[in-house]
Symmetry: C2
Subunit: 350 residues, 2 copies
């Protein structure tokens, strides 16, 4: 099989960690006899610096032509705390989501036994937690009308959802639940919001199509509590864009494996795979960043192209690297390997 | 001094726990020579059942005439998971907030040494955490225009904030920070929302008036993570209504003292004091619910009327009851006291 992969390394540690994921994909390609063509493209602060646009048209075209996109990270401190800057890296992210129709962000949250001590939660609470947050990514308050009154003393953001948008993401969430433990939690604020009531109505109407799935409905404030109190009670959680932003980040810190978690943004035109952590600018260029989240994102990428054995080979190699203690300094202070060493070790193991 | 206190006991365990708080207030009144007049009024499911309205006009008038309102809890399982029910208890809550102008919800989150083992977080992470969440309560997406398109396939909720609303709550948050550790975290989503950008602009403009306060700005997704990872790093957090709903509930579970935490809703006309926990219908009438959160809400009530010594007397008695193990079954399984016994003990101690 021939794979066309767009490579958007982005800012900070992006290029270093993406390079390790490419090593893993190359190793898999060699083993399973695939041909891989990588097409690099600019995104984020790097793209602003070079061409004045955080998601240039050329990058968009490369993504559109790719079977899948491997993404690093974006963000540069020079844009921080400056919400009034004319062009910001995040705008590139939002433009990419909209233009590629990346309607669902999927974040599996798993525990790694060797990392459990890094969890801020008590061992008995978090051990064995295994859940997926499915976040709607191209609708809601992120993309509704927004602005200021003429005298600038009043601001507004409109949250809008259509039946199609809601059905599409719920369908995906149901399908994840079917492949997993068959439990789906719909997170909303139906006691207050009209959009949430539409979400809930549609989910309730879809339930009969998925008789084997146990569906429950939870208000977002309650979900934010229960995620910490009983993370093991969740299997698949699905929610709208803004709640998903909060809930998926909250979920990502409970297991202590923040630096190791991958994500997929499923799109209409193509899909994008990236670690959930940021561009970690302080570490850029130092060959110390943890590449595992990006390597596991590559596994999700392969899985999305139905290369299940290939994805499994990557995951197994990653697990072995953790067991063997071939890890970066964020995981082991005593014996820390470099980013590139971890990447090489995993590629070789594959 | 003569105190007029509106008493809205509400549903479930509401009446039982409010009765214990009244005992504490009575004990304080006897000790410090105050006269207290309580005026009971209907609210919540109880009010729907009796007069068809969760926040009847008569109740509103009683609140308007009170120096402060002591509130129990609302909610009844028969309204659960039925967002389409015509009248729901929560509507009473929202109506009360709007009509009394309860613009700020204040939630102090503290740790009780004897309860730390109940925290889902590791001891070293949570020990000593002491923060206050200040949530805007009468604006934003809760009270903006909302509805459906004619064909019902599209729903919207508008989030609106005015300069006055934002300034008012920020002023209150700054004043809390001044009385505490002089650190204020403004939680927003200024990288996406126009309303958040207005919040941030106004906060930045107010900073020079509060030179001794260290202000920082944090995106809500990041705040949701850091609350779990480093709860001790926060002193006062301030945020808009919807984010505050999520963040304050999240904050309330990290210390393990959920059942003990009080809250104040500060209003233009009067203020309302209530435990943050719910109506716990399964325990209603059993004399087993923990009255401490409500008793501590009474302490906040007295404080709001500048009765600082009186508030302190309640707090000290509560601490002694915890040290002495005079606690309800949620805290000690071995030797559990009844709700009314704990209330009597604390009143006597005062
Ligand atoms: C950078 C920001 C716009 C973005 C979001 O809010 O979606 C980020 O927090 C994320 O979750 O990917
Ligand atoms: C019941 C509901 C409307 C309410 C809210 O969202 O404000 C509750 O969650 C709260 O925080 O007091």
């Amino acid at each position: 099989m021939k794979l066309n992969i767009g490579v958007l390394a982005g800012d900070g540690i992006g290029p270093e960690i993406v390079a390790q994921a490419q090593k893993a994909i190359d190793a898999v390609a060699a083993k399973f006899n695939h041909e891989v063509v990588y097409t690099p493209a600019l995104v984020g602060a790097t793209a602003i610096d070079q061409v004045g646009d955080p998601y240039p048209e050329e990058t968009h075209e490369i993504c559109m032509k790719s079977d899948a996109v491997l993404f690093g990270a974006i963000g540069d401190p020079k844009f921080d705390n400056d919400p009034k800057a004319k062009v910001r890296p995040e705008q590139g992210l939002l433009a990419m989501r909209k233009k590629l129709g990346l309607y669902a962000n999927i974040r599996p949250v798993t525990t790694f036994p060797s990392l459990l001590e890094k969890s801020p939660l008590r061992l008995d609470i978090v051990e064995g937690a295994d859940l997926v947050v499915v976040r709607e990514l191209t609708g809601g308050i992120y993309f509704g009308d927004k602005g200021r009154s003429e005298d600038l003393t009043k601001a507004f953001d409109n949250c809008v959802y259509t039946k199609e948008e809601i059905e599409r993401i719920l369908k995906l969430a149901f399908s994840y639940a079917e492949k997993r433990d068959k439990r789906l939690t719909v997170v909303d604020k139906a006691n207050v919001l009209a959009t949430s009531r539409l979400w809930r109505e549609i989910a309730q109407a879809m339930e009969p199509e998925y008789k084997d799935i146990e569906v429950d409905y939870m208000f977002v404030d309650n979900a934010a509590m229960q995620l910490i109190q009983w993370p093991k009670k969740f299997d698949v959680m699905v929610t709208e864009n803004m709640f998903g932003d909060i809930i998926s980040d909250e979920a990502s810190v409970i297991t202590g494996s923040l630096g190791l978690l991958p994500s997929a943004s499923v799109g209409v035109h193509t899909s994008v795979f990236e670690p959930i952590h940021g561009s970690y600018p302080q570490a850029a260029g130092k060959d110390i960043a943890n590449p595992v989240a990006t390597i596991l994102s590559a596994a999700m990428l392969l899985e999305s192209l139905d290369l299940l054995e290939e994805a499994k080979a990557i995951r197994e190699a990653v697990n072995k690297s953790l067991e063997a203690g071939v890890v970066t300094e964020d995981i082991s202070k005593e014996k820390a390997y470099k980013t590139s060493e971890v990447g090489d070790w995993i590629a070789k193991e594959i």
